[in-house]
Structures are given as C-alpha cells and as structure tokens.
Amino acid sequence: MTTIHHTRVQRATLSSRIAMSIGIVALVALVAMPWWATSGNIRWAIELCCYIAIAQMWNLLAGYAGLVSVGQQAFIGVAGYMLFVLAQNFGVNPFVAVILSMIAPAVLAVPTYFLLRRLDGPYFAIGTWVVAEAVRLATSNIDYVNAGAGMTLRVMTQYSQHEREVAFVILCAILLLVTIGGSYWLLRSRHGLALTAMRDNPVAAASQGVNVGKLRFYIFVAAAVGTGFAGAIYYMAQLRITPSAGFDPFWASMAIFIVMVGGIGSIEGAIIGALIYFFADRLFGEFGSAYLIVLGLLTLIIALYARGGVWGLLQKLGDHPWFPVRRKLIVEDIS
C-alpha cells in the first residue's frame, strides 16, 4: 500500500484566527464608538491608536531594518504642521488635509535618509535627532506658521462634535489598518523574508542577494509616512500644535519604550507595549518625573536582560503568534 503525501503551506494558526477575530471586533467597536462611548473615551482611543501606529513604525525601523531612530518626532511635527497649514491657511477640508499631510514626512524622509545613511548605527540615531531638532528650530523661526507660538485649528469649529468624532474614529481605523496591516502585509510579502533575514544578520542577508540599502530606504520613508499620519491625526484631535510639542523628543522616547517593553521585532510586541504604556500613563502619569524614572530604568533593564520584552517572554511559554509571518509545511498522509 503506498502512501501519498499531500503537502500544503500553512500560515494561519488557531491563535492567529482568534487574534484576527478580536482585531476585527475591536476595529468595529472603534468605528462604532461615537454611538456608544463618551467623548473622553474617544479621545483616549485616538491617543492609543496613535501610540500603536507610531510604535509599530519604530518597530519596523529598529526591529527589522536595523535603523534606530530617535528623531521620529520630525515626521510627527511636519505632518501635523502641513495639516494645520493646509486646513487653516489654504482652506482645504481638514479631513482631506490629514491625508495630504502624509506628503510632508515623505518629502523630509528622502533627504534625511541620504544624509544620514553614511553614519554608523549609533551615530545614525543621533543624526535623526539632529534633523528633528533642526526642523523644530526652523519651524520656531518661521512667522508663516506663527513661529514658536504655534497654530490652532479653528476651522474644526464648523463641524459638530459628533461629526468630528465619527471622522476621527474612521481615520484611526484607517491608521491602524495602514500601519499594523501594512507591516503585516510587508512581512508576509516576499520582502518579509528579506526583512527577517536583515534583522537577524544584515551582512549575511546582503550576501544572499538582499538589497539591504534599498529596502532600508523604502522602510525609512514608509515609517516616516506612517508616523506622520499618526501625528497629523493626533494634533488634529488636539486642535493645537506648537514646535515644542510637535517636535518633542518625548515622542521618540515613547516609541522606544513601547517597542522595547512590548518586544522588538514583532508586530504583537508593539501592540502589547502600547497598551501597557497607555494604561501605565493613565495610572501613574500623575507621578511625573518619578514615573518617568521607572520608565527609563525599565527600558534600561530590558535592553540589558530581556531583549525580547513582554512578547519575548510570552513566546517562551508557547508559540502562539497573532500575526504569523512564518510559513509552515504540513505533510499529510492520504493512504
């Protein structure tokens, strides 16, 4: 009796199906928020979505492309400012402007990458910070955007609160789809293998025919756009932007904290980290600098002793990916 082996490639797992279902429920709940949640809760949800998106983008940079940036606030700020200028100074519909404002981070990211790519790993990081500082200082000196005093999004008053909230939750849903979904799509695509190889060993990846430089460039620009999108939504909800807030280095600290605590190099890690940070911020934010000391020390300890973060620890208990990016060959016996 001969055995016929039937093979197929499996990617979805039980855990991923559960996660996907929860994700869809969460996304629907998010979009339905204006009809069931308070305005305060919606504001929180917007904030959380922005954290997740910004962290996810930083994860893509540092966790896969090997580009550690401490200057992502540059893209948050320029996108925010482009939105305010388009809506306030040019009279563009703000909800259209928020989409258009993704142009600014893309335009900034290209020369930034070409200037900084010459710098070695750690120097690249501080280089991004210098770019962010330069853009912040330049913005503070431009009267057209009201210099250091910042801008207010007065045009938003023409919409009712309900209209605004509906628009915000839809924008947030798009933001999550673009950043999480986009990362997931990228990692599952043919570039995904290259990216994972690059994360594990860039030199070996290059010798295997991965165009490391080109892939890094694309990721840098894509991450800038995703980060900028989150920034535009965030400051649209805030209705106000100033150079010191929009270009605050704390944005980078937050992204780093979220990704390191959650677990670098995984989509799940950034989401877990964002949730942890969000709730920690609600609970302990009032302690101010004492709370930040703990955040800083936690980041330090994770870098020293538990590079995989929370997701890394969970993985040790069992392999239950929410976003499986590996392919598994299943051999079935059909007798």
Partner: protein, 286 residues
C-alpha cells in the same frame, strides 16, 4: 568687526564643546558605543558640584579635585554595570540601554534638584575679562579653551605613545585580534570610559561656572558633542577639537544674525558637512 568678534567668541564656546566631544570620540572610537546619557552625566556632575559648593568651601580648584574622581568612579560604574553588557556589533542594545538611562537620569535630577537653573557662585575668574585690540575676552572662556587644547593634546599623545594608547587603538581596529595579541579589551574599555567621564567632570565644573545648568540640558550637550565629532571626522581627537571650534563659530555667527538662529546654524553646518564631506573636515584621504 562684529564678525571677528563672533568668530572669537565662537572659538571660545568651541572650547567648552570640545570638552564634551573628546570623551564621546574616545568611547565611540574604541567601543563603537554612543552613550546617549553622555550629556546627562555631565549635567549630573555639574549639579553635584553646585550642591557641594553650597555646603563645602572648596573653591574651584578644590571642586575639580573632588568632582573629577567622582566622575571617574561614575564612568567605572557605567562601564561595569551597563556598557560591558551591551558592547557588540549590534548598536541597538547600547543605544536603548543608554537611552533608558538618559531618561531615568534626567528625571532623577528633576526630582532632586527641580527644574531650576543653577550655577556655581560667581568667582573672580568667571567675571574677569581682558581686552585684545577691540575684542573683549572673558578670562574663564580662555581658560576653558586652553584646558580643552591641553586635554586634546594630552589625549592624542597618550593614544600615540603609550602602552595603553596602542592597546586602545588596536582594540578599536580589531577587538578580537587585539585580544589575541594580549590586550584585555574589558580593561581597555573600562579605562577609556573612566577617562571620558573624567573629562566630563572637568567640563561639568566649567559649564556651571560659565553659565547655568538645569536637569534637562543634557540632550543639547549630547547633540553638540556628537555634531563636533562628526564635523571634525570620526576617530581622531584633534578632529573632535576642530569640529568643536567649527560648531562654536557656526552658533556664534548664527546668533549674531538672529538670536533665534544660533543653535540652528550649528545643526545646518553639521548637515552641510554630512552632505559634502561625510568623512569629516579633518579626515585624511584613504
């Protein structure tokens, strides 16, 4: 004439930056590590100096004699408990670890010293000045510049002509090969960090004498040190010194054009160097 004055003041300011930059160049050169908490450690030392000066009548020289050993000890602790664990080909762990340390240190200083700006009590040196032709020179900035010059020269000589210096350059070129030749890399790293932070101890006192310091100033110092190192060209202490002068002059000139443009001009010169001469203005051709 005001431009000549701007250049002179810029060079003097560069003397201050050189003291931050030397340590960074040294540590990066040997370990390929950038300590993001570099500036915060300096501010911490400044604040300790200010507090000490408030309780003990040490005088400026006395303060240096107390703070520099504290700085060396701090460098040793930093190396032993943090940097030794993150040295490696992957820059991420060292960046993240020192980034976390930087946030923790900044906020710890805020808790202890509050956000107020502080400085060391005005002494004769800090206010004394003299005149050469039409230009006034503060005595203290001149001393700072001379100190930076001597430190750079001293460090350069140590690197060139001593056993430690050769061992350090060997470890910087190829750590594994250096170990095979008898060099103990951990010891070299520890010594380099102790020297780097020790220099910061001196810089801390000058910074608190020259101007004010507050807990959140560290990031700016880090960035200036970094810009100076890149402008001058990596891997040479004289490069870091010259880069500091260029940065100081750029900031002073910018400041004369518009008070809001000083620091921005420094960043722009840095980006310009990166665009046109990424190996640094002092680097030799390969």
């Amino acid at each position: 004439m005001q431009w000549l004055d701007a250049i002179v003041q810029g060079v003097l300011l560069g003397g201050m930056y050189a003291q931050y930059a030397l340590g960074m160049a040294l540590m990066f050169g040997v370990m390929r590590i950038v300590n993001i908490a570099h500036g915060d450690v300096m501010i911490l030392l400044s604040l300790i100096a200010v507090s000490l000066a408030g309780v003990l009548p040490l005088g400026n020289v006395g303060l240096v004699l107390v703070i520099v050993p504290i700085a060396v000890g701090l460098g040793w602790l930093l190396q032993k408990f943090i940097l030794n664990r993150v040295v490696g080909a992957d820059p991420l762990p060292s960046l993240i670890a020192t980034f976390g340390l930087s946030i923790a240190l900044q906020n710890l200083m805020l808790e202890i010293w509050s956000a107020d700006t502080r400085s060391l009590p005005n002494s004769d040196i800090a206010s004394a000045s003299f005149q050469i032709g039409p230009i006034y020179l503060g005595l203290l900035p001149v001393i700072v510049l001379l100190c930076a010059f001597c430190l750079t020269g001293g460090l350069d000589a140590v690197l060139r002509y001593t056993r430690f210096g050769r061992g350090l350059r060997a470890a910087a070129a190829d750590t594994e090969a250096a170990a095979m030749t008898g060099v103990d890399p951990k010891r070299i790293y520890a010594t380099a960090t102790a020297i780097a932070v020790g220099i910061l101890g001196l810089a801390a006192i000058f910074a608190a004498l020259r101007a004010t310091v507050s807990p959140s100033d560290g990031s700016a110092q880090l960035i200036y040190a970094f810009e100076a190192v890149i402008i001058g060209g990596m891997g040479s202490v004289w490069g870091a010194f010259i880069g500091s002068m260029v940065l100081g002059v750029a900031q002073a000139v910018g400041l004369r054009i518009d008070p809001g443009l000083g620091i921005l001009f420094g960043h722009l010169v840095f980006l310009l160097v990166l665009a046109t001469r990424p190996e640094g203005i002092m680097a030799r051709k390969k």
